[in-house]
């Protein structure tokens, strides 16, 4: 026996997905496949990432995202063990004569301790799985972390992971391994989310009560996903109970209130989760006399329905709508948000083959305008997509699991439509012509065990993008490199005609090589292509930014990334640790001419510059999973730069979000049965920024001059911040389901005025004087308290 088999056996319960212990398998005819679902016995929720294994054989697997597992075994009698943290393990004896199905329900361990919820996946996956550059966050963990003004925030928690930065607190989105905010594919139950923010970026568009967990892929992105360069953030909404009776979660905070209802519609078959959230800043505005006509609020609403037709067919429907609304009396109105939905049918063709068939519609849109008077107008803009896809997963044999699929997306872009709202309006109608495009992809991927020590996953994705005509005039653009370009060669392609087609082959590969029981080496390579781009020339993406397809002028962005990692678990998997180094190159990166006008511009493409980007770095990550103290420490040393002709004299310069050092410490400590305290500390190098060093006067105004056309030649001071939180559960009354808790948090405990940016301006009182000013988004400590309940 090889040593790996030996430790596989002695590791006992910690056995992992391991077709790797398969040398002793008999011929195919002697084998049969056992498959089925693992569910929570009380709620019916799928149990993801659970272990299913036969101890005696050292054979095992994990349940997938639907709680589904399949396991090839020699025919005969076996004892199957089902195991997942937080549940009572179960052993089932089965006589396997042919392919068979066995679904199992596990019951939660009676005292479900908080400290085990740091992860939805098992600790040893860190070492055993071929995937790398992946971080998974469970919503239960995120909820324990101190939250800004009590708003539990998916995006802010992601910013605490290695390799993730932001241009500043309160800025929309996040940056992964040197990529832009638009280079993250953010999926909420397969629905792309174009804008992840409420309130200009202060809060995220995800309702914490609706989210189950999220997984961030920073590299080694599976071939199944494409369309963005830098990352995939897979946000899964709660599935809901199919058993028992309805339950209600809610919370009252400083900023918003939340309510979520989970109910079985048909016992053991259909469940529904309905979750909503609304802020009520505007209700306070009503108390202020000169603000009483103003409205400012956001809301989001999500609904998810799960229906099991049979053990082989399942349908899942998700709908989402989020909105920010700002109305300044009758003077100015503005709103924006995402809307969309997903329908997914999961079908099990055989114990070894199942498929997901998904339809998605998603839209981001905004409107602003003045409702009355001579300046009455309405300005609308939107991006919308419809996607259909089919994904199949086939367990070829104990050593190979093949997945493959196809997808097609149709995009429609309305960059801007401005309409006058009254006859006496000074405005004319202005329309920046609609654009449309199609994006198609096919992929195949295999997860293969080559030897007990070596597991590989390799795949290929073919993506094709068609920029389509809309019956409107399009142009080419010509001009000096680095300058605003002029339109020429006007032509009018027919509606739906392919104006320009792009295709990319995107290889993806990752491997895991086991060093010993507790450590492994991993490597990955991936190429990604991105066909739609967020056109934004501001420091933080604004809600008014528009998405643009690749066109005859804008070429698809492409990235190649390699990553190497060393993964090690300590103290019986009590600690997971990893070190990863990565290098990434990106081409066709978009930037803007000086003074670019990116909104309401019919010749927007003339304002764009193109160049290349590169990023490299090392990420260190240690996570403690067990015991009263849990949490992680993450440190990233990295560089992210770009080179664009026309900017910084054509030389390389640091991206705004480049941070040499980036440290996060996240900790949660369970003091007693009722009290958990938490603390987060962040430190990072200040963002890159441009300082002028000269000035001249023009008609009485002082104009700054940046010598040598430099870009991002300075850094704002280093950023650091400490947050503290506490969650106190109220006593439960015997026989009553009502549970409640108080959540206290203090953001920016020592009131540091972290610089969002440093700006240069004339002194207001003495226009000859000039000064540098620091803007701090949060200049003081921000305490908050929320009350949560469920019954």
């Amino acid at each position: 026996m090889k040593p790996s088999i030996h430790w596989g056996l002695t590791a006992g319960l910690l056995l992992t997905a391991a077709p790797s212990w398969s040398q002793t398998l008999p011929e195919a005819s002697q084998r049969a496949t056992l498959s089925g679902y693992l569910r929570d016995g009380a709620t019916g929720e799928a149990l993801v990432g659970a272990s299913v294994f036969v101890k005696a054989l050292g054979l095992g697997t994990n349940t997938d995202e639907n709680g589904y597992y399949q396991l090839q075994l020699p025919k005969g009698t076996h004892t199957i063990t089902y195991l997942i943290i937080g549940y009572e393990p179960q052993e089932v004896k089965i006589n396997l004569g042919a392919d068979a199905t066995r679904s199992v329900k596990l019951s939660a361990t009676r005292v479900q301790t908080q400290e085990v919820v740091v992860q939805g996946q098992r600790a040893e996956d860190n070492v055993r799985k071929p995937e790398m550059s992946v971080n998974k966050l469970d919503m239960k963990t995120v909820k324990l972390m101190p939250a800004l003004l009590g708003e539990v925030d998916v995006v802010r928690s992601i910013q605490l992971l290695p390799g993730v930065t932001t241009v500043g607190e309160g800025a929309s989105g996040f940056n992964v391994r040197g990529g832009g905010v638009d280079q993250n594919l953010i999926l909420m139950d397969e629905m792309p989310v174009y804008n992840v923010s409420h309130l200009f970026g202060l809060f995220s568009a995800f309702n914490p009560d609706a989210v189950q967990d999220m997984k961030l892929y920073k590299g080694g992105i599976p071939a199944q996903y494409g369309g963005r360069l830098s990352s995939l953030l897979d946000v899964r909404l709660r599935d809901g109970h199919t058993a028992e009776r309805a339950s209600v979660n809610g919370g009252i905070g400083l900023i918003s209130s939340r309510l979520a209802v989970e109910a079985p519609l048909i016992k053991d078959r259909t469940s529904v989760v309905l979750a909503g959230r609304r802020s009520y800043g505007d209700l306070f505005l009503k108390l202020v006399p000169d603000q009483k006509d103003n409205q400012a609020y956001f809301y989001d609403l999500s609904v998810k329905v799960n229906h099991k037709f049979s053990s082989r067919d399942q349908l899942q429907l998700t709908g989402y709508r989020g909105r920010d609304v700002f109305n300044f009396s009758n003077v100015f109105k503005n709103n924006w948000g995402n809307t969309g939905g997903t329908a997914r049918w999961t079908h099990q063709f055989s114990p070894r083959l199942f498929g997901n068939f998904t339809g998605v519609a998603a839209q981001y849109d905004y409107a602003l305008g003045v409702p009355n008077g001579t300046q009455a107008f309405e300005w609308t803009s939107s991006v919308r997509n419809y996607t259909g896809k089919a994904d199949l997963n086939f367990q070829l044999n104990a050593n190979n699991t093949i997945s493959g699929g196809v997808s097609g997306t149709r995009y429609r872009f309305n960059p801007a439509t401005v309409k006058p709202l009254s006859a006496e309006s000074i405005f004319v109608e202005l329309k920046v012509d609609d654009q449309q495009a199609g994006e198609y992809a096919a992929y195949i991927d295999n997860e293969q065990t080559l030897s007990p020590r070596l597991q590989v996953q390799y795949g290929l994705r073919l993506s094709v993008f068609d920029f389509l005509g809309t019956g409107k005039t399009i142009y080419d653009y010509q001009g000096e490199t680095g300058q605003r370009k002029d339109p020429l060669n006007p032509r009018t392609p027919k509606d739906g005609e392919v104006v320009k087609r792009y295709a990319n082959l995107e290889p993806r590969a990752s491997m895991r090589f086991t060093l010993d029981e507790n450590s492994s080496l991993k490597a990955s390579y991936n190429r990604t292509a991105q066909y739609i781009h967020l056109i934004s020339n501001t420091t933080a993406a604004s809600p008014l930014d528009v998405w643009s397809p690749s066109t005859n002028n804008i070429r698809p962005e492409r990235a190649d990334q390699v990553a190497l990692g060393y993964f090690r678990n300590f103290l019986d998997n009590g600690y997971e640790a990893s070190v990863e180094v990565f290098g990434k190159t990106m081409d066709n990166q978009i930037d803007y001419v000086n003074g670019a006008n990116t909104l309401l511009n019919k010749n927007l493409e003339g304002e764009l510059l193109y160049g290349q980007g590169r990023a490299y770095g090392a990420e260190f990550f240690v996570k403690k999973n067990q015991g009263p103290l849990t949490g992680w420490v993450s440190y990233t040393l990295s560089r992210s730069e770009r080179q664009i002709d026309g900017i910084n004299r054509g030389e390389w310069y640091a991206n705004k979000y480049d941070k040499t050092h980036n440290l996060s410490v996240v900790s949660m400590y369970q003091v007693g049965k009722r009290l958990t305290v938490s603390g987060n500390f962040s430190y990072s190098t200040g963002v890159a920024t441009t300082f002028p060093n000269a000035r001249f006067s023009y008609e009485g105004l002082v104009v700054p001059v940046v010598s040598g056309d430099a870009r991002n030649n300075y850094r704002v001071p280093a950023y650091h911040r400490l947050d503290l939180g506490a969650t106190l559960k109220n006593r439960t009354v015997e026989g009553r389901r009502w549970q409640s808790e108080w959540v206290f948090s203090v953001y920016n405990v020592y009131s540091r005025r972290n610089a969002y940016g440093i700006y240069f301006r004339q002194n207001e009182d003495d226009p000859r004087k000039t000064e540098a000013v620091r803007l701090s988004v949060f200049g003081s400590m921000l305490p908050s308290v929320s009350y949560n309940f469920n019954f």
């Binding site: 300044f328 300082f691 000035r695 001249f696 803007l775 701090s776």
Partner: protein, 276 residues
């Protein structure tokens, strides 16, 4: 419109958090290279027209900029007229007989410090002002109570007109950085610009309010627009600081670069005295 949107965004953020703040900080900046700075206009109104030459200074240096004396300046127009300018004060150069006309092109030549620079511009058409009148706003949402001025006049048919509006209070230009009003006509082409407030700062009774509408060549519009961005570039949605364009070109492409602008504009104006 956008500026207004972003200032509202800033307001919302402030209301939302009650915690954002700005404060003045000390920053060390390296000594810059000194460059020629040019500021001057030619209009369709009677001259003399003035060109000012200075040197750029360090960003935090608030002393009067160094005048460039003894330069040789010439303006020639597309009708063959040429005039040499006279230095009437240190760094200030004046025309004597030249008269700007709508439709003409002008070239300024500067010989200073051993370099030769050229700048080309033109004077574009300008619409007439119909009426310029006062309006008393009381209890109007979004406005402070007080006296405002309303602009009324046609916009010329055909996209491609660019304007600057200047507002004077008792002959003093309202010249805060955010009062540099430049507009293009893409959204208002050929419409009657009626009852438009050009400022949200009220006038006082007895004030003489004057408005000027200046036609701008397209490139000068970009210059002023970029300048507006750079001198109001504070906040979450600021754009990367970048140099504003110039039309002052060194004849020697490898020679030192200049900053500033020589612009042709046509001007119309109207005045109203605020009464109760």
């Amino acid at each position: 419109m956008l500026a207004r949107f972003f200032s509202l965004a800033a307001l919302v953020l402030t209301l939302g958090t009650l915690a954002s703040c700005t404060d003045v900080v000390q920053v060390e900046l390296p000594e810059p290279e000194s460059q020629l700075a040019v500021e001057g206009n030619i209009t369709d109104q009677p001259g003399p027209y003035e060109i000012r030459l200075t040197r750029t200074g360090a960003y935090f240096d608030d002393k009067t900029p160094l005048a460039v004396r003894g330069a040789e300046l010439t303006i020639s127009d597309s009708q063959g007229a040429t005039e040499i300018l006279r230095e009437t004060a240190p760094g200030v150069y004046q025309t004597s007989s030249l008269r700007g006309r709508i439709g003409n092109q002008y070239t300024l030549t500067i010989k200073a410090d051993g370099q030769e620079y050229r700048a080309a511009t033109e004077i574009k058409r300008v619409p007439e002002i119909d009426r310029f009148e006062q309006q008393h706003k009381v209890n109007e949402p979004g406005w402070r109570d007080g006296y405002y001025v309303l602009y009324n006049g046609p916009e010329l048919p055909g996209v491609g007109d660019y304007y600057r509006f200047k507002l004077y209070q008792n002959d003093t230009l309202r010249n805060n950085p955010d009062e540099l009003i430049v507009r293009d006509d893409a959204l208002v082409d050929g419409k009657y610009i009626g009852d438009v407030e050009l400022s949200d700062r009220p006038f006082r009774i007895g004030d003489r309010a004057r408005v000027e509408i200046l036609s701008l060549p397209k490139d000068y519009f970009f210059f002023l627009n970029e300048m507006f961005t750079q001198i109001n570039n504070v906040g979450m949605f600021s754009s990367p600081p970048a140099n504003v364009r110039t039309n002052i070109v060194n004849v020697n492409p490898n020679g030192p670069k200049a900053v500033g602008y020589f612009a042709g504009t046509a001007v119309r104006s109207a005045t109203v005295t605020i009464t109760p």
